[in-house]
């Protein structure tokens, strides 16, 4: 059973590579525009592409910093995220992650790093943020999920529009305000169970929940 599954994955893995070689136009069609720009930065240190990415994503990241409670360091976070994008774009592979997903994980990790630096009283910790929170596509032997990844962002964008506002509010607080489910419950004045069921309903719709975990 497992062996069959693996070989299916292997086929999925091979296909986009061949497509890329034989029909570049079709493969290019799958790329999102931000991914094209990221590759230009990664391959040629293309500054115009870098600036275009900056103009689109920097205002998002600045809001992300402010909503996460580090308004005093918002410009600094933007700088750190973009230095990291500059340095890591050579590792970016459009087949493994949509550009905005990749940039989100970098922003998240830089935010964690910054909080670690701001709170650090003792010696350095043995493991780094990237050891605990991975950037998609880095250090992966099997790009089995590549197609799922490209599909998933489009699917989420579509499904999110169908979710009730109360579910989106809860998710936004978890992602943008660095809040635990308990903190969200306290802030909204609703039971923890209600917060959890709203998240479960949303994740169910977004197909994140495994079959056996449906509640």
């Amino acid at each position: 059973m497992i062996a069959i599954k693996r070989s299916t994955h292997a086929t999925v893995k091979e296909r986009p590579v061949t497509t890329l070689d034989q029909k570049p136009a079709k493969a290019e069609g799958r790329k999102d525009p931000w991914g094209v720009l990221l590759e230009k930065v990664g391959k040629h240190q293309d500054r115009a592409a870098y600036q275009a990415l900056f103009e689109h994503f920097a205002p998002q990241i600045k809001y992300y910093a402010i909503s996460n409670g580090i308004a005093n360091h918002a410009e600094e976070l933007v700088q750190e995220v973009f230095i990291s994008i500059w340095r890591r774009s050579c590792l970016y592979d459009w087949r493994k992650a949509a550009a905005s997903t990749w940039i989100f994980t970098i922003a998240r990790n830089q935010r964690i790093d910054m909080l670690r630096k701001l709170q650090r009283r003792n010696a350095e910790m043995a493991v780094e943020t990237e050891d605990l929170w991975q950037i998609p596509g880095e250090n992966e032997d099997e790009p089995v999920t590549s197609l799922h990844r490209l599909m998933s962002e489009r699917r989420i964008r579509e499904s999110l529009g169908q979710l009730p506002e109360e579910q989106i509010t809860v998710i936004a607080k978890v992602y943008m305000e660095h809040k635990s489910h308990q903190m969200v419950a306290d802030e909204l004045g609703i039971p923890l169970g209600t917060v959890k069921s709203r998240v479960r309903l949303a994740l169910n719709k977004l197909k994140v929940i495994l079959q056996d975990q449906n509640v």
């Binding site: 994955h9 990664g42 600036q51 900056f54 103009e55 920097a58 205002p59 998002q60 990241i61 600045k62 809001y63 992300y64 918002a74 700088q79 973009f82 500059w86 340095r87 050579c90 590792l91 905005s100 997903t101 940039i103 989100f104 994980t105 998240r108 990790n109 935010r111 964690i112 670690r116 650090r120 003792n122 910790m125 043995a126 493991v127 990237e130 050891d131 605990l132 929170w133 991975q134 998609p136 880095e138 250090n139 999920t145 799922h148 998933s152 962002e153 989420i156 999110l160 936004a172 992602y175 943008m176 660095h178 635990s180 998240v199 479960r200 994740l203 197909k207 994140v208 495994l210 975990q213």
Partner: protein, 212 residues
């Protein structure tokens, strides 16, 4: 292939970057061995990207991009492209040696522990490695608060089933269990505890210093 996974809410808190470092480590170790959960985290990371895109935007300062380019031009050694780091398990990085060779402290009978909380400064969870010798039994106990466990080696079973290497177990105050190590290997787990474990069996007094 692992069979016991973190629940989706925990994975969402991981993807959002809201878990403590030791709890993130437990998730990370599971993800390394579980393509299914990696796929779920990928989707959740995309959810994060879409959330960030749909929230308000705040203009950066006029000189922000110039500052960035100045930094890249003036300190090329700090801003040069990174090479892909060699893949080292975060556990190996943290412990620096094989888990079987650690300075285990034998507690009682079949159980040994090693408290590694001090490897995670500036957070409040307690982090312990626990070892149950092959075929050994742990005393019955419940859990106060949340406990997150990932199995690093071997397997154990309790009334909820068999838990194998890289399986992920979440327990709270409602769970009382008496794990037994199954298979030929010692069962080694990494546990993150938000509150002390409460003993329910006859070993209560003896073990209290250990499973506090």
């Amino acid at each position: 292939m692992t069979r016991h996974h973190p629940d989706s809410l925990t994975l969402m808190e991981y993807s959002a970057g809201n878990l403590s470092e030791p709890r993130a480590l437990c998730i990370r170790l599971h993800l390394e061995q579980c393509p299914e959960c990696r796929g779920r985290v990928d989707t959740l990371d995309s959810l994060g990207a879409v959330m960030m895109d749909q929230q308000p935007k705040v203009s950066v300062s006029d000189t922000s991009f110039e500052q960035l380019m100045a930094r890249i031009d003036e300190a090329p050694e700090d801003t040069s492209p990174v090479a892909e780091a060699p893949k080292v398990s975060p556990l190996q990085k943290l412990l620096g040696q094989d888990i079987n060779d650690l300075p285990w402290k034998r507690q009682l009978g079949d159980v040994s522990v090693l408290d590694i909380t001090d490897k995670f400064p500036d957070q409040h969870d307690r982090v312990v490695l626990q070892k149950l010798v092959a075929g050994g039994k742990a005393p019955a106990h419940t859990h106060k608060g949340d406990e997150t466990t990932v199995i690093l080696q071997g397997a154990f079973s309790d009334q909820n089933g068999v838990f194998n290497q890289w399986d992920f177990v979440s327990l709270d105050e409602h769970d009382e269990h008496r794990p037994v190590a199954v298979g030929n290997e010692d069962c080694i787990t990494l546990s993150v505890l938000s509150a002390p474990v409460k003993l329910t069996g006859t070993f209560t007094r003896l073990l209290n210093p250990f499973i506090r």
